[in-house]
Symmetry: C2
Subunit: 380 residues, 2 copies
Amino acid sequence: MSGKERLPVRGAQGDLLRLVATGHAESRAQLARISGLAASSVSLRVEELIDAGLLVEEGSGTSRGGRRPRRLRVSPTAGLLAVADLGAHHARLGLLDLSGAPLVVEERACDIALGPEATLDWMAASFDELLLTHGPPGVPLRGVGTGMPGPVDPASGRVVSPSRMPGWHNFPVAEHLGAHYDLPVLVENDANLLAVGEARSWPGCDNLMVLKAGSGIGCGVIVDGRLHRGRGAAGDISHVRVRADSSTMCSCGHPDCLEAYASGAALMGALSEFGIATRRPGDVVALVEDGVPEATALVRNAGRLIGEVLTVLVNFLNPDAIVVGGSLSTAEPLISSIRAAVYERCLPLATRDLEIAVTRGGPDAALLGAGSLLLDAVLG
Amino acid sequence: MSGKERLPVRGAQGDLLRLVATGHAESRAQLARISGLAASSVSLRVEELIDAGLLVEEGSGTSRGGRRPRRLRVSPTAGLLAVADLGAHHARLGLLDLSGAPLVVEERACDIALGPEATLDWMAASFDELLLTHGPPGVPLRGVGTGMPGPVDPASGRVVSPSRMPGWHNFPVAEHLGAHYDLPVLVENDANLLAVGEARSWPGCDNLMVLKAGSGIGCGVIVDGRLHRGRGAAGDISHVRVRADSSTMCSCGHPDCLEAYASGAALMGALSEFGIATRRPGDVVALVEDGVPEATALVRNAGRLIGEVLTVLVNFLNPDAIVVGGSLSTAEPLISSIRAAVYERCLPLATRDLEIAVTRGGPDAALLGAGSLLLDAVLG
DNA sequence: CCATCTTCCTTCGAAATCGAAGACAAAGCG
DNA sequence: CGCTTTGTCTTCGATTTCGAAGGAAGATGG
């Protein structure tokens, strides 16, 4: 593997490179405006970055009434990032260039129940394979990152108290991956990565709640443009008590958690009581689209419960938008019931300019989020 | 009035002065560490600030094994801030020096129902009086700030849709005060000011929820060390739906809002149905301390309801601490029921290091918060 | 086509910042 | 006491950044 050399950027150069890489700026003038540096300083540093082969000039942008800007891009040869989004039974793996744009993305079957060592070694092998088949020769790997379907302590890179990951509790994921690669390693909760990825598609929205509705219910929170982690566990909404007709026990030991009614797993369980078999949350969406009334009713109820929980959070956080992602997000009744509940019950002041919408970032949003966070680590 | 001259600080000088003023640093070495500037640059700028009469050296600090730092303080002659915390029937008014330390604080009766013009003119007159009687001669006023018992749009300085402030909707408070003083003017929600003030007493806690339990229920949110405003309305928890035995309509038009059960006003109303008359939320606390069972039961129930709402927010925001302030905060049963509800129902991961405590900042915390935010405006 | 405007980018001297080296001042310890 | 350790603060030359001015390149509008 060719690529243990550190990126030769520091200080202002790193800032500028990051701004271009993350898509916040694509001309010298924009860089000057956003970074706060003087235009002359920007020109100097950009010159150096181009000489170092990290940036390239590529065509010119559009202008309304002035000289066209010379568009800047991160050089395709500047480096690669290997990123993954690990799910219970499958993982998305990809290579990104240093602008965070994907070169390859593949979805592969896997099984996290095999335990951390087996899964992470499989992941590393998959990365190596991707690099071999799709990595441009001579372009070094600069960082590795992955999302986990459970709580992560980002400082130590460990998974903590995951509910659906037997054998993973307290396993040092970052350290284990770091043994394969002597590079910056990022380990983060999957909903958080989704949130960071989505944030790129919502310019101007500095405060976002990004719901991931799949087998479980996760939520990533963007405050002031940055991922909010709290003490490491922020974003949990799945164990909020909801007002339900019946009374169901959640795996956490409390009754009537949101997760016990509105998660994909809960919906699948409820459907099986009607004698309807499903294998994954996406099957529930298919049933809804086919007009199966039991499925529609269940999804609608799930949306209402989620919406009622969001009500509290919307009044409290007053975000710019709520974004719904995850495999259940394509179920139209889910999002419309969420909308109805939120708009009905929240303060007008909080919903005045609130947008509630499905993912804009596409299926690779979480991978892009991983790239975005990794860039911060790589461009120190 | 002596004092329309701008503070002659800009750029790095302002940053350094702000760090000393807010108490984040009190020596050159600390300034260098926190600001990120080189020690030599810090020394240069500090020299200039001392020459300009804005900083003074005062004694020396403590050291464990090295030369003692020369302690820096903002000069008492650098300027004054006039701050107020407006309540429904009384206001606290004070003068602070530029380190945010109070020179005088007074509590005076007033009535916001008289309308914005009368109230704000009264406030300005009170400020002038304080300056005349307590302001050191020759020390200029640098900024004016006030807290409002209702939602505030901080950008425009207007009060929006206040529930208990007839005649104030959309009134340009900042502009009106600005007509008296040609100075930076700050207008902010009272719970937000309390939160900022409290944050000074919770070093190391970057994420705080500060509850203000008085006639109403407000909440200020500190995320990443800074006040979170969202789109301007963040922090509302009073109109969350709670699980109550009966069904009560709230003034906002929805049933079973937290405010309808747990606010000081609601408690007073409930007590009057028992034939117990109270005039202010503090009277309820006195009844509790006297062991009046109806009062204790009501307060305990209020705490439980508040705690259940906080449950959701704690899991979501994962803060370092919940601070309870406001006139009801001294009622012991309130805080213990809040604690019980939160610790019982929240995720262990979220409550592991969570502290739930009453105000540390004392009665002037909101004024200190106003000072803190004003400093940011003054030391631009 | 030409004057005019806007925006982008560079040039160059002035100013701010950095960083390494060292002076200064105390605490800890034999 | 002297010696080491730790930490604070200043000096000074090298580097970086700033900002004003102007050149470059295109849009706009007669």
